[in-house]
């Protein structure tokens, strides 16, 4: 098996210098207008600011936990932009930028990690951009994404040749997930049924404290090939590479070409979660290496080389600050859900035990109010 060189359009210095392997994807960049490029930058900056604000809110006791996305904005924004409105996206739990691009109210992620909900946004609500729920058991959603794509096939929404009809499923997971049996089974089932799935791996180098070298003796993008799923490795901190390669993979999948696998090389600049201390297992030099490859810094250099000026960048910064302030303001007034709601959606249909226990709890709680009165 020959190794494919990494696809990259933008050098670390932000110069447009496609690698040889990027050439086959180059035409996909023709789809991008100047406004699209501005949007790439805007979304990356806004989500980083959101991520920072959420981290602060967690430190201030407003959330039980936060899952930082800092450093992975290029991989997420580029790939999410490659999806069409009628595609479906299955995130893991760090894909905040994907959620932003697809239009969910980002407060929903705060509510989840604050302990108000287990997720709660409805992927079928058109305002949520077919962005499915976060899934905390590593890799398990890769099978849901595969089954969903099997449903698209049965609905006749694959390979018709009509771009307004054909749809695909874009599924995100991380390097640790590639060790999970469910991800292997997702490759097996998607290859078996030739489903319209694109599996997008953000290899951020660390599964909490365990490096990729413990997960795999081969580059992760080679993993899928033994299952019959073609793959490509990209520079995940190059938003253009992420966009172009995902756009092609989704096109192929929608057209009936079967599943595809993309490994995006990136880095989790921050902690795994706010409960983690990466200084216990990572070297500073490694982090510095990746900070120099920051997707936002690199893309800003590129945009400036195209003539974008301070007014634009200052405007985006102000917009990001406003976004963060809005999230903070709405977080601070979030109230705990009513206690009875824990019984309400365990089942879709009436269930005697839920009814009985909800009633019991209401009586129990009200008994204290009577005592106080």
């Amino acid at each position: 098996m020959t190794e494919t060189p990494t696809v990259q359009f933008l050098s670390v210095e932000g110069e447009f210098a496609p690698t040889e392997s990027a050439e086959e994807y180059r035409s996909y960049l023709d789809r991008l207008s100047e406004t699209d490029l501005q949007e790439f930058y805007r979304k990356m900056v806004v989500v980083r600011r959101f991520d920072g604000e959420a981290t602060n809110l967690q430190r201030q006791g407003q959330m039980a936990l936060w899952v930082p996305s800092h450093g992975q904005e290029g991989a997420q924004v580029g790939s999410a932009y490659a999806a069409r409105p009628h595609d479906h996206l299955f995130p893991s739990y760090r894909e905040h930028a994907v959620g932003l691009v697809r239009g969910i109210d980002m407060l929903a992620i705060v509510e989840l990690l604050r302990g108000n909900t287990h997720g709660g946004w409805d992927p079928a609500d058109p305002t949520n951009g077919n962005f499915h729920g976060y899934c905390l058991v590593i890799g398990s959603h890769s099978l849901h994404a595969t089954g969903y794509a099997m449903g698209l096939q049965r609905d006749g929404l694959v390979g018709t040749g009509d771009p307004e009809v054909d749809a695909a499923v874009l599924c995100y997971f991380g390097d640790g997930a590639t060790s999970q049996g469910d991800v292997s089974e997702a490759f097996v089932f998607s290859a078996s049924s030739q489903t319209p799935n694109v599996f997008f791996l953000q290899n951020n180098q660390w599964a909490i404290s365990v490096p990729v070298s413990v997960q795999s003796r081969v580059p992760l993008y080679l993993r899928s090939r033994g299952f019959g799923v073609p793959s490509v490795q990209i520079d995940g901190n190059d938003v253009l590479a992420s966009y172009a390669v995902t756009a092609k993979a989704l096109d192929d999948a929608r057209g009936g070409g079967g599943p595809q696998f993309i490994e995006a090389l990136t880095y989790r600049i921050g902690a795994h979660t706010t409960s983690d201390d990466p200084t216990k297992y990572r070297e500073n030099a490694e982090q510095e290496f990746w900070v120099k490859r920051d997707p936002i810094v690199r893309f800003e250099k590129y945009l400036r080389s195209l003539g974008e000026g301070d007014a634009f960048f200052d405007g985006v910064k102000a917009e990001a600050d406003d976004f963060a302030a809005d999230i903070r303001a709405r977080t601070l007034v979030l109230e705990a859900p009513p206690i009875g709601t824990m019984f309400d959606h365990v089942y879709s249909e009436p269930h005697p035990v839920m009814t009985e226990q909800k009633l019991w709890l209401e009586r129990y709680e009200s008994s204290f109010q009577e005592e106080q009165a």
């Binding site: 709660g120 099978l143 994404a145 595969t146 089954g147 794509a149 469910d182 089974e185």
Partner: protein, 341 residues
């Protein structure tokens, strides 16, 4: 609740719409009806297509409904359940076959962490209408992992419904009800009852999926079970009858939720309860029923509730299975004990 004696075919045999069928065929017809009634229903599992399943429950269905609706999947239980979840998210109503009870564990995480919890996680935004068929239990002389009764693991998990038919008629109707349910249903099929024939009334209407039922009226001791063990209780009732003890037999039918109405009514009358199951007794369905009946019928009880169960060992090699599995004599041993109070 109507009282029916499933061992007495004469009650319904006069009607031409009633056929004597084995449970495997009744399930097959129930699945076929569901497939015909709703284009969103599809079957998934290992060897269920061309082979018709290792127990032939799906025989002929792939030829009738096509390979897109009766799907021979790759051999991976987590993959079967996980992709069924994705199909359900897309509006389908998958019915998964797990080939044998002891093979369900590779799919356990998808069942308990995903299938059972997704409706709740989504705040009720979507349903998870997935049925998981599990041929379960002993009496078939099979090798390890092929004779287990794992229903308590699933009854313990919120978000799942758990049922088990004991007769061909219930199998036919309960399968269709389970498929119509918008909640996930674990459907435990007593494989030792796949082949004995019984009446299936195609004109009848189904009893509610989660209703328990008195299947033999008696006065002295209530005996209760689900699935294959119900037929053992009917044998015990005959033996008891000869000894002058009248057993009232209840077919649980639904393991989660449990319909306590007929159970408490019966115990209020008899004052004695014996619960029987093939599964090990420790932390089991029988344990749960014993505790609840002690709460709800305390002043009616003349004796402690006794459990007749498999031993708290792994299911033994097949040459020992008749020792492990409770038979009518083991039930009678418990009946004699509760009668001695």
């Amino acid at each position: 609740m109507t009282t029916v004696n499933p061992s007495n075919p004469t009650t319904a045999a006069a009607a031409p719409e009633v056929q004597e069928l084995p449970m495997a065929k009744a399930l097959n017809l129930g699945l076929a009806k569901a497939l015909a009634d709703d284009p969103k229903v599809l079957l998934m599992g290992e060897d269920i297509g061309r082979l018709g399943g290792v127990f032939r429950v799906t025989e002929g269905l792939q030829a009738q409904f096509g390979a897109d609706r009766v799907v021979d999947t790759p051999l991976a239980e987590s993959g079967i359940i996980g992709t069924a979840i994705g199909l359900a998210m897309r509006g389908y109503r998958p019915v998964c076959e797990i080939q044998f009870d002891g093979f369900i564990w590779p799919g356990f995480d998808q069942i308990t962490s995903q299938l059972a919890k997704l409706t709740n996680r989504g705040g009720g935004a979507f349903s998870m209408p997935v049925v998981i068929r599990v041929p379960y239990g002993g009496h078939i002389g099979a090798v390890e992992h092929h004779q287990e009764s794992p229903e308590a693991y699933f009854a313990h998990t919120a978000g799942l419904r758990v049922v088990s038919p004991s007769t061909p008629n219930d199998a036919y109707w309960m399968m269709q009800e389970a498929i119509r349910s918008n909640d996930p249903v674990m459907f435990f099929e007593p494989k030792s009852r796949y082949w004995p024939k019984g009446p299936v009334d195609f004109t009848g209407s189904a009893a509610p999926l989660h209703a328990s039922r008195v299947v033999r009226v008696g006065t002295d001791v209530t005996v209760l079970a689900h699935g294959a063990m119900v037929s053992v209780l009917m044998q015990a009732a005959e033996i008891a009858d000869a000894e002058g003890i009248s057993l009232e037999v209840i077919d649980l039918r639904s393991i989660s939720p449990i319909d306590y109405g007929p159970i408490v009514d019966s115990v209020t009358k008899t004052g004695r309860l014996v619960v029987a199951q093939e599964a090990s007794g420790f932390v089991s369905v029988g344990s749960e029923i014993a505790a609840t009946v002690a709460e709800r019928a305390f002043y009616s009880l003349q004796a402690p509730v006794l459990r007749v169960a498999g031993f708290d060992t792994p299911f033994p090699p097949a040459k020992l299975e008749t020792v492990f599995l409770p038979d009518a004599d083991r039930v009678m041993e418990a009946v004699d004990r509760v009668m001695a109070y």
